[in-house]
């Protein structure tokens, strides 16, 4: 597994516990777009719901966003 990606994941995990929500939201959006297939965003959505939420809004938003990014990337020729 890519070490760089693991380090980034750990940093994102810590940022969810320490940084303002809008900051880690921007980071997660950027990483989902940057990486080819950033499945971890689902876990972070899940973590967000578990820590601060009372429903599954974080998980649902992350799966919808990841789906949209995958759909867009499939149609963009590089």
């Amino acid at each position: 597994m890519n070490l760089k990606r693991v380090i980034i994941d750990v940093l994102i995990f810590i940022s969810i516990l320490t940084l303002p929500w809008w900051l880690y939201l921007i980071l997660l959006i950027s990483l989902t777009i940057y990486f080819q297939f950033y499945l971890e965003v689902l876990f972070f959505g899940f973590l967000f719901d578990t820590l601060y939420g009372q429903n599954h809004i974080g998980l649902i938003i992350s799966v919808v966003f990841l789906g949209l990014v995958m759909f867009a990337k499939e149609r963009i020729r590089t």
């Binding site: 810590i14 516990l17 320490t18 940084l19 303002p20 929500w21 809008w22 297939f37 499945l39 689902l42 876990f43 899940f46 973590l47 719901d49 578990t50 820590l51 601060y52 939420g53 009372q54 599954h56 998980l59 799966v63 990841l66 789906g67 995958m70 499939e74």
Partner: protein, 264 residues
């Protein structure tokens, strides 16, 4: 004809889509069947990080004050501001207690004992979204869902909505869209306040309603518990209604501690 590139992408994407769907279902089922277990695990892992964050934040704050220009003045200013805030809260508490004392004397025989416990805030806005707080007491301390949370002796701010072994999640009454009944202490009329986020409430009433600037609204309990006070009234000459804006007294977001009242 040359299509293989596109076909390859689609095959890969199908696999990824299945992967996403499976992972999503797995996480969803995990929270559905073991909500308490999952929360306990995450809070257990997060507690050291929350504690370290608070420690680092305090240290950095102190260091910045030390190196700052005219740091003595700054320190003194901060100290005086803290004292002033504390006195303001005490003044509100004092007035409430005085009024409560009079009311209790009139009632004769009714007593309202409270069982409040001090609790440290682990996470608060803007780290957590909405008007949500995470505190360091839970089931092991005898707290349960629905227990009331106070900023100081008589300023009520919200209730516990989720509780795990050692942590609890609080939602403020000012959480966006949340509705809460409150009584105007001056007139005794009860209204339904709507949370607007960031310690603010909104209330729409007919123009004739007797609400003035500075009016205090309290939670419907035997012991007076302030929810908020009126800081702005928006009156439009073309409308038959006026919008009242209220705010929780004191600054919840700069507080490090809250009081949680155990259910009787």
């Amino acid at each position: 004809m040359n299509f293989p590139l596109k076909s390859k992408f689609r095959d890969g994407n199908k696999l990824k889509t299945i992967f996403v769907a499976v992972f999503f279902c797995l996480l969803f089922l995990l929270t559905y069947f073991f909500p308490q277990g999952v929360k306990n695990v995450f809070y257990f892992v997060s507690r050291p990080v929350f504690a370290s964050r608070n420690f680092v934040a305090n240290s950095v704050k102190n260091k910045i004050g030390y190196f700052a220009f005219k740091n003595d003045l700054i320190k003194k200013n901060i100290q005086l501001e803290d004292e002033l805030t504390s006195y303001k809260l005490k003044e509100i508490d004092y007035n409430i207690v005085l009024k409560e004392n009079e009311e209790l004397k009139n009632l004769m025989g009714r007593s309202g004992t409270s069982n409040k416990v001090l609790s440290k805030i682990l996470s608060k806005p803007p780290i957590s979204p909405y008007d949500v707080f995470l505190i360091d007491v839970g089931l092991s301390n005898g707290f349960a869902k629905g227990d009331k949370v106070y900023l100081s002796g008589n300023i009520i701010i919200g209730t516990i909505v989720l509780v795990t072994t050692k942590t609890s999640l609080i939602t403020l009454f000012s959480n966006g869209g949340q509705r809460q009944e409150a009584t105007n202490t001056r007139t005794g009329t009860t209204y339904e306040l709507t949370g607007r986020g960031g310690m603010n409430f909104q209330l729409e009433v007919p123009k004739e309603a007797d609400i003035i600037l500075g009016d205090v609204f309290e939670y419907p309990l035997l012991s007076p518990s302030i929810i908020g006070s009126v800081y702005y009234i928006d009156t439009n000459s073309q409308s038959s209604f006026k919008t009242i804006f209220l705010k929780i007294p004191g600054n919840v977001f700069s507080s490090k501690w809250v009081f949680v009242e155990k259910s009787q």
